[in-house]
Amino acid sequence: MTVPSAIGLSRDEMAERVALDIPDGSYVNLGIGIPELVAAHVPEGREFIYHTENGLLGMGPAPEDAGDPELINAGKRRVTAVAGASFFHHADSFVMIRGGHIDLCVLGALQVAQNGDLANWSTGEPGAIPAVGGAMDLVAGVETIFVVTQHTTRNGEPKLVESCTYPLTGPGVVDRIYTNLAVIDVTPDGFRLAELSPGVDFEYVQERTGAQLLPMSRMSSAVV
């Protein structure tokens, strides 16, 4: 099977594609990994406010200098604070998440099922150290959940599946999936193709998807 990273979008292009679908003025939480790259791709004319669950609303980019080791994001990387930022404690931070105040969250995934189930915190292997962080709170509390991920694992296994075999982060929570190969909506009928990456066709994506992929509807791919 072809190594997927050679075909379709790069990690950065995937992040850029996600950013196109975020409405102006949104309050956004970005997961660790490719989701973090979204912050670098705010479309012209829009402003997003980034929330990081460790207590900062108005997260800015990485510092140009050494930064402050106590000004970090949820991935424990040093960041900055924009004008209009605020600091708050952890319980207040999760008021924003659990209370439905964050508009949109972009997460990575180990698996997404056709009913929107997400598995992104554990492979369930015996002996592995389980670590959940804020993922379960985010999917339970944030209205719109985007997943951005390589379409398949490094071994070519599909990440979009009929049902998750890994432990769930949350049931039926994913709205849209952005991969190197396609943009795919989670609909009541299952996975529906919304957009193909350049040079990729429907069959190519279907072959690498572990569940039935419905063809693009006549609607445009824009969800916003």
């Binding site: 460790n54 080791p69 970090i72 600091f87 404690h89 999760f94 709170d137 339970a140 432990p167």
Partner: protein
């Protein structure tokens, strides 16, 4: 005059007893009270249950306490971090237990502990393996699980500035769990970079009111975990 200052980190942690539950502020290195943790290692208390978002990194601070065999159980949300090797080894060898709690549920359970709320409902973890053993209830058409308050015997907190009454302010994202932990512990022990007389902190900007703080010790230039780890430091 109300004055909660003590003279040293040794004095501050002297009464932490074997088997105690200890909340430790910090998220990664931000807000980690390294000097109090090292004093606790020196003090010798063991069989501790520790509540922290993570499990420390390298062989300093919280990781050093775990490495010294003093922690029989961790209650945390994310025990895997960059440079975190101590806890995984002890966990895999069965010498340290783990109670894994979603981050927002952990923060809210601690807040509930301080607020006299014995239990609350949340949608977090419904339909996942972390729901196992929890009571589920439908409220207003949605499923929730019942979560119980979390309290502690001691909280170890790092602040930026404290006044003699125990009013605290923090540095940026070093705030994280500390304000809720301060409310949930029988004895809240604070290391602050600066200590000022009452009135030295704007009453509109106090983050943790002094009522939640029991002891304050000045640690003027606290060590940073990342610096110590980069130096290959190991405590003791």
């Amino acid at each position: 005059m109300i004055d909660k200052r003590v003279s040293s980190v040794e004095e501050a942690v002297a009464d932490i007893f074997d088997g105690a539950t200890v909340m430790v502020g910090g998220f990664g290195e931000a807000g980690s009270p390294i000097e109090l943790l090292h004093a606790l290692i020196d003090q010798g208390a063991t069989d501790l249950t520790v509540v922290n978002n993570n499990t420390g990194s390298g062989e300093v601070g919280l990781a050093a306490l775990i490495r010294a065999g003093r922690v029989s159980k961790m209650i945390c949300s994310y025990p895997r971090t960059l440079n975190s090797t101590v806890f995984p080894e002890l966990y895999q060898s069965g010498r340290t237990a783990l109670d894994l709690v979603p981050q927002g549920t952990l923060a809210e359970r601690i807040r509930a502990g301080g607020a006299g709320i014995p239990a609350f409902y949340t949608a977090t973890s419904v339909g996942t393996p972390l729901e196992v053993g929890k009571e589920r209830r439908e409220i207003g058409g949605r499923d929730y699980v019942l979560e119980y308050a979390l309290t502690a015997d001691f909280a170890l907190i790092k602040a930026k500035v404290a006044d003699y009454h125990g009013n605290l302010i923090f540095n940026k994202t070093a705030r994280n769990y500390s304000p809720v932990m301060a409310t949930a512990a029988d004895a809240t022990i604070v290391q602050a970079s600066e200590v000022v007389p009452p009135g030295g902190i704007d009453p509109e900007c106090v983050v943790t009111p002094g009522i939640f703080v029991d002891r304050i010790v000045i640690v003027a230039e606290p060590a940073l975990e990342s610096t110590l780890v980069a130096q290959g430091a190991s405590y003791p």
